[in-house]
């Protein structure tokens, strides 16, 4: 780079982020003063409204809470290069636990909160010991997925809190902390003041922490754990300490939220992914590494959010705004120096085990053929006869399973074969369902509507997938999650779609098949699932699937063979989006009506757990995973649901990384080996029909 002659030499301490922070602080102060002085507040362009200073300050308070969350995410990302989706839920648990404790024993709140802090630290340390540490060598995406499981376990714990103490605990606690003042038009109470004081201090403390030898160790471990160990750094201890710190941060977040009237508190509320969205977005803007930038970004987002909310009065719009900011931030993200090793560790599901086809010599045996075809036919027959065996509510469940299995299969393509994590697949289903309902409302034919929806789904998925070409896999998870939240709260508002009577009437297919009865619609859905299975199988066996897996496993080598990475990935997005939207379309007709909560972002996470539990990239796995998760949802209480799916997810990640589907293939391979031995057929690869996971090169 040619040296340019600067007339002004920037001193070393005056880094760009610091300049930016100082500038935004000055700007914010100026904005506040102006807003306070002007009558009615800051006039907003393009609207008739003006923004009073109180709203901006409220934004700062709310933003501070998100900043705390975001900084927790940054601390863990710096230590382990993964995103902790459980951070928000851990805080919620700590607050609920602490407040319940103090109420139950009628002790001062401060004592309870202290206990909440201790519980969060302990739980975080336990999570690290039991889960994260075991996944030390796993790709970072796997750890990120594991935190989704942890979040569900924490959710189960949070739900259990009132039950453990006393069901009649005073719900919706009002907490009186110190003085209050008014900045038009908002009244600020002690909790808000506390937040504005505590959070900057925490930020400073964290920046200081990263200067200590523990901080240096944390960074060293994140960059190259193997080398750090050879220098005498106990990677495990560093990891545990980091989790404890993150746990304390989460508890601070949860407690401050609870004492904040703007956020509020009540027992047994699962906040879901939208809870951590702003913090996550701020952390991404901070490059997942800079604490101060995260802090400032969160404050700015808070102010933006409150302003939008004030103007439009619709929380969906705020989420859309955040989604837009996140997309811009991700697209502007620069690659940093010397992160090549990270990229290798961060992307791709290297742990996914490929299932090998059955050896030809075995497949030709008559007994094998009989079992394959006979078994397949038997299974299909059984599934087709199910309506005769089940009652109406169970048939409903079976039909849901069939349709959700299609969604899981769409993830099998995208995540299993393509290695792209999508946490927003259920939102695509929602798009399909809603648009389908609108189309039918306008009197469009069922078949035509399906085609339109499929096309739309592919289009939307490609649009989401575009940033995936630029950013590593982990951040795609963030984008898709944000998408899910935005869709949930913005797009699928029924009033904005002006659906008068959201009752959807099932059609008369080809003027012959009447689908109005539950049994008939089930059979119809089953056919759709069967077709999807065939499509996915065909795809995997054909050149497109081969390209996709090649790009997932080694994009450079794939490029050397002339495979275009971008096109291949986008094709995967398109196909999977089309399938998901089609499933949504069919789902709308199955449910016969649309509810606002049907496509919540929480379900989106659960749908993702389906494919992990089933085994990524395995068709039977996706089907079995759907059965497991949906049955858990149907038959269990909410708390147990979370426990079942969360623990199931974690157990599989830890002990059977190839998932339930992998177990099926393991059993098959054992049978094949035995058969081969009895017929004395030579199998060169029989010892390991399931290819061992690729060892990380050292």
């Amino acid at each position: 780079m040619p040296r340019r002659d600067h007339s002004f030499r920037r001193p070393a301490w005056l880094t760009l982020p610091r300049l930016g922070i100082a500038a935004s602080a000055v700007a914010a102060a100026a904005l506040l003063v102006v807003a306070d002085r002007l009558e009615g507040g800051l006039p907003l362009p393009f609207t008739q409204r003006s923004l009073p200073a109180g709203i901006l300050v409220l934004g700062l308070v709310v933003g501070s809470l998100d900043a705390l969350l975001g900084m927790g995410l940054v601390v863990l990302y710096r230590a382990g290069r993964f995103i902790n989706f459980a951070q928000g839920q851990l805080g919620a648990f700590a607050a609920a636990f602490g407040i319940a404790l103090s109420q139950f024993y009628e002790k001062p709140l401060a004592l309870g909160i202290l206990a909440g802090f201790a519980a969060a630290a302990l739980l975080a340390a336990l999570s690290e010991l039991a889960v994260v540490r075991r996944l030390f060598d796993a790709p970072r995406l796997i750890v990120t997925v594991a935190t989704i499981g942890l979040a569900q376990v924490y959710a189960a714990l949070t739900l259990a809190v009132p039950g453990v103490f006393d069901r009649n605990l005073n719900n919706a606690v009002t907490i009186d902390v110190g003085p209050e003042f008014v900045i038009r038009p908002v009244r600020f109470e002690g909790g808000s003041i506390l937040t504005l004081i505590v959070v900057p201090l925490v930020c400073l403390a964290l920046v200081g922490l990263f200067r200590t030898s523990l901080g240096t160790s944390i960074r060293a471990v994140a960059e190259n754990p193997g080398r750090a160990r050879l220098l005498g750094i106990s990677v495990r201890r560093v990891s545990t300490y980091t989790w404890v710190i993150a746990g304390l941060l989460a508890a601070t977040t949860g407690v401050l939220r609870a004492v904040n009237p703007s956020a509020g508190f009540s027992y047994g509320v699962i906040e879901g992914p939208s809870f951590i969205l702003n913090g996550l977005t701020a952390a991404v803007i901070g490059g997942m590494t800079s604490l101060p930038v995260t802090f400032v970004a969160a404050l700015a987002l808070g102010a933006l959010e409150q302003s939008v909310l004030f103007v439009t009065g619709d929380s969906g719009d705020t989420n859309l705004a955040v989604f837009a900011v996140l997309l811009v931030a991700l697209l502007l993200r620069r690659r940093q120096v010397g992160r090549a090793a990270d990229a290798r560790r961060a992307t791709g599901f290297v742990a996914v085990r490929a299932v090998r086809p059955m050896p030809e010599a075995i497949a030709r045996l008559s007994i094998v053929r009989a079992v394959r075809w006979g078994g397949g036919a038997l299974l299909v027959l059984l599934l087709a006869l199910l309506p005769a065996l089940l009652g109406p509510s169970n048939l409903d469940l079976a039909n849901s399973i069939v349709l959700v299995a299609m969604v899981a299969l769409s993830l099998t393509i995208l995540t299993g074969y393509g290695g792209q994590v999508s946490l927003g697949q259920w939102a695509l289903v929602g798009v399909g369902a809603t648009v389908g309902a609108v189309l039918v409302e306008r009197g469009i034919d069922f078949g035509v509507g399906l085609l339109l929806v499929v096309a739309l789904g592919a289009l939307v998925a490609v649009a989401i997938g575009l940033p995936a070409l630029r950013v590593p896999g982990l951040f795609l998870a963030v984008t898709t999650l944000t998408f899910a939240v935005a869709v949930d709260t913005w797009l699928l508002k029924l009033d904005s779609l002006q659906l008068e009577a959201p009752k959807i009437v099932r059609p008369l297919l080809f003027s012959v098949f009447d689908l109005t009865s539950g049994a008939a619609y089930y059979e119809f859905s089953l056919v759709a699932l069967g077709l999807t299975v065939l499509v996915v199988r065909r795809l995997r066996q054909g050149p497109a699937g081969r390209d996709l897996v090649a790009v997932r496993d080694n994009s450079r080598a794939a490029a050397a063979y002339g495979i275009r990475e971008g096109r291949t990935k986008l094709a995967a997005f398109a196909v999977s989006g089309a399938i998901a939207a089609a499933a949504g379309y069919l789902y709308a007709f199955q449910q016969e009506l649309l509810t606002e909560s049907a496509f919540s972002d929480r379900i989106s996470l659960q749908v993702f757990t389906i494919v992990v539990i089933g085994g990524l990239g395995s068709i039977p796995g996706a089907l079995l995973g759907t059965v497991y998760v949906l049955c858990a949802r149907f038959y269990l209480d909410e708390g147990f649901q979370f426990a079942a799916t969360g623990i199931g997810l974690l157990a599989l990640l830890l002990f059977v990384p190839e998932g339930v589907g992998g177990l099926v293939f393991r059993a098959r391979d054992a049978a094949v080996r035995r058969l081969a031995a009895r017929r004395s057929i030579e199998l060169p690869s029989a010892a390991a029909l399931i290819a061992p996971a690729v060892e990380e090169a050292t």
Binding site: A220, R227, L230, L231, E695
Partner: protein, 697 residues
């Protein structure tokens, strides 16, 4: 399961002691008898406390729950003091420890019959737990050194016979003693006079303490003088680490925590089960349980003989026997719980009791085999601690009893036993390797002692039969390597010969599959690299040795971690490193990612310098560097060597390696093909050609 029962010799030899000697392989019987006796008399006290708890409760006027809590205090002692006491046994004369403990519990027994307050009673009962905490670890450690391995299953099983015998004797004596005492010195209000039981039960313990003075302390594996013994003792931390890295034991811990819970719950549920479900009176219950104890004694003896026979075939099979006998307990009691009639239920309970005896002898023998002699007591203690941990794993079963009754309660604890047993079975794949590793540690100690006696240059690193690799496929296969202090050895070989794998296995970055790594007399096999660094094994990795996002200064700060807290030492080491590489001093605040390749390699060497290694292992010094830089680095390596540091230098470039090293090792396909003076290797063109031409792969 096919179990060949040993019926003993057809023609009975004339004397019992001669017959018993066939059990011990001809070794003297006295130690076994005395130690088994101590084990038995320790049972007296506990059995008496359990049997007399209603009377004791009356005397002290406490609730049922309280008396239960007091009697479980001894388990708490094991949980808290068991492992430290094991350490004491490994550190000092074991017989002294054993007799001191016996004296202590004799005193505790005596005092149980004397104390007046509840608080004092608690204290005394906690002290009586010392017996259990010391006996098994210390006695087993002693027995493992008294008797040859081939007989140990039998020896240990006879030792464990002490428990049922002690229980039986106690139960037989308690009744008569209290009867006679209450008759002779009857209390006015008709209370039972139970205290004399404890006075009398303290007597045999005291007698056996005196008998133990006649025993001679055996040596721990290698015959050494007292001074040498002091030299060879293993510090606490290290012993603890080793205990945690023995894979067989690691599985056993998990199994023990479950099985302990199962057995604890079993003992307290079974009597109530007979009582409530089948309405058996106290006398009948005593008979049923007593016969059960006899069955478990029979199982004990059977396990001893069968265990030794299986051991001869393969130690792994003995481990399977242990696990399956535990699974057997679970299955038998599950059946006992669901059987519709008392007779069937009892039959299965007795079968379960039989299984409950089998694993004792072989279990103790396997522990003896996989733990090096110097830390054996700690090995046993660790397993005991996990068994005592069963106090907690048993809780769910008790909850089930409360909620669903005794039948389901009994049934609900069987999963603990079955899963625990399966965990024990799963340990079988580690047994053979772990035995070899323990043997390697013992062999290394022997070599060390002899070297010292002959006054030779001491051995720094001894690697025995090391196998390591990736994904279950060994890359190095049976490496033996000795490095003496101050040696500079070049490690050469083709690509994929296993050079880096060997270094990684020594440093602990890769867990070896089998074999042992002994450094300065300490068993570091499978230790984490952060611990081996602290002991002085420092690695310079080839390529990717720096953290791109950290400054040079931060690198040096990280490298000082093994030095501990001393600021002066850190400063000195840092200055030393910077003087060696002045170029780094200019770049202290620069991110390492922006350094040139040569500077990065300098930085990793500087880090190694800061860490003050005893053994420096350099992997690929010259990788991707210009000859000039390599020259500089080689000079530094030689300087480090001149200070007396031993160096293992892995090099692709034979010329560089052989120009500095006096010794050379040539590795091919995971085995050592050549070891000798560097000059000799230069003549072995048959070996060297493969490096240059890439043949031999």
């Amino acid at each position: 399961m096919k179990l060949g029962l040993s019926r003993g010799p057809r023609i009975a030899p004339p004397r019992l002691s001669t017959r018993l000697k066939t059990v011990t392989g001809g070794a003297p019987l006295l130690p076994l008898l005395v130690l088994a006796g101590l084990n038995a008399v320790d049972e007296l006290d506990r059995a008496a406390f359990a049997a007399l708890s209603p009377e004791i409760r009356n005397s002290f006027d406490v609730s049922v729950g309280a008396i239960g809590a007091i009697s479980s205090l001894s388990s708490l002692t094991i949980l808290l003091a068991g492992y430290p006491l094991g350490f004491v046994s490994d550190r000092y004369r074991r017989l002294t420890v054993a007799s001191a403990a016996a004296g202590l519990w004799a005193l505790a027994t005596l005092l149980t019959g004397i104390v007046g307050g509840v608080l004092l009673l608690c204290l005394v009962r906690a002290a009586s737990g010392v017996g259990q905490a010391v006996n098994r670890p210390t006695h087993s450690s002693l027995l493992a050194d008294y008797y040859p391995p081939v007989t140990q299953s039998r020896v240990f099983s006879l030792y464990y016979l002490g428990n049922p015998i002690g229980q039986g004797v106690a139960l037989a004596l308690i009744g008569p003693i209290t009867y006679v005492a209450s008759r002779l010195y009857g209390l006015p209000d008709g209370d039972t006079y139970w205290q004399p039981v404890f006075w009398l039960f303290a007597v045999p313990s005291a007698l056996l303490v005196i008998a133990s003075f006649k025993l001679v302390e055996p040596s721990r594996g290698v015959e050494v003088s007292d001074a040498e013994d002091a030299e060879e003792r293993v510090p606490f931390r290290e012993a603890f680490r080793t205990i945690l890295t023995i894979r067989t034991l690691r599985r056993d811990y998990g199994g023990a925590a479950l099985v302990g819970g199962g057995v604890i719950a079993l003992v307290s549920i079974l009597a109530n089960f007979y009582d409530e479900v089948y309405d058996v009176g106290p006398g009948g219950r005593g008979a049923l349980l007593g016969i059960g104890v006899a069955f478990s004694a029979a199982g004990n003896v059977t396990g001893g003989f069968v265990g030794d026979r299986l051991f001869r075939r393969s130690p792994a099979q003995a481990q399977v026997l242990i696990g399956s006998s535990i699974v057997g307990i679970g299955v038998c009691f599950a059946l006992a719980a669901v059987m519709p009639t008392l007779a069937l239920s009892v039959a299965f309970a007795w079968a379960g009791a039989f299984c409950n005896g089998i694993y004792n002898g072989p279990g103790a023998r396997i522990t003896a085999a996989v733990v090096p002699p110097r830390i054996r007591a700690q090995g046993y203690a660790a397993v005991d601690v996990f068994l005592a941990f069963g106090l907690f794993t048993a809780i769910p079963a008790f909850l089930v009893v409360d909620a669903k009754g005794l039948r389901w309660g009994l049934f609900s604890l069987t999963p603990l036993l079955i899963v625990g047993g399966l965990i024990y079975i799963s340990a079988q794949k580690f047994v053979v390797n772990d035995i070899a590793r323990a043997a390697g540690a013992l062999e290394a100690e022997r070599v060390r002692v002899e070297t010292r006696r002959r006054g030779e240059k001491p051995v720094l690193l001894q690697v025995t039969d090391l196998r390591a690799g990736y994904g279950g496929v060994p890359v190095i296969d049976g490496i033996d390597l000795t490095v003496r202090e101050g040696e500079l050895i070049a490690l050469l070989g083709t690509n994929g010969a296993g050079k880096s794998t060997l270094l990684r296995a020594i440093s602990g970055a890769l867990e070896p599959m089998s074999g042992s790594v002994i450094f300065e007399g300490r068993d570091l096999t499978g230790f984490d690299p952060e611990l081996t660094v602290n002991r002085g094994i420092v690695t310079v990795p080839g390529g990717q040795g720096v953290f791109p996002g950290l400054t040079v200064e931060e690198h040096l700060r990280l490298a000082a971690i093994p030095l501990g807290g001393s600021k002066a030492a850190v400063r000195e080491a840092r200055e030393d490193a910077l003087d060696t590489f002045p170029r780094l001093r200019e770049r202290l605040d620069q991110l390492a990612g922006t350094l040139s390749g040569g500077e990065q390699q300098m930085l990793t060497l500087a880090q190694a310098l800061v860490a003050r290694p005893k053994l420096l292992m350099i992997d690929e010094l010259s990788l991707g560097l210009s000859p000039k830089v390599v020259g500089e680095l080689v000079a530094v390596v030689e300087a480090i060597h001149q200070r007396g540091t031993a160096v293992i230098l892995v090099e692709q470039s034979v010329n560089i390696a052989l120009s500095v090293a006096e010794e050379a090792i040539f590795l091919e396909k995971g085995r050592i093909r050549f070891r000798g003076p560097a000059a000799e290797l230069l003549e072995r063109t048959d070996l060297l050609r493969s490096i240059f031409l890439g043949a031999g792969r």
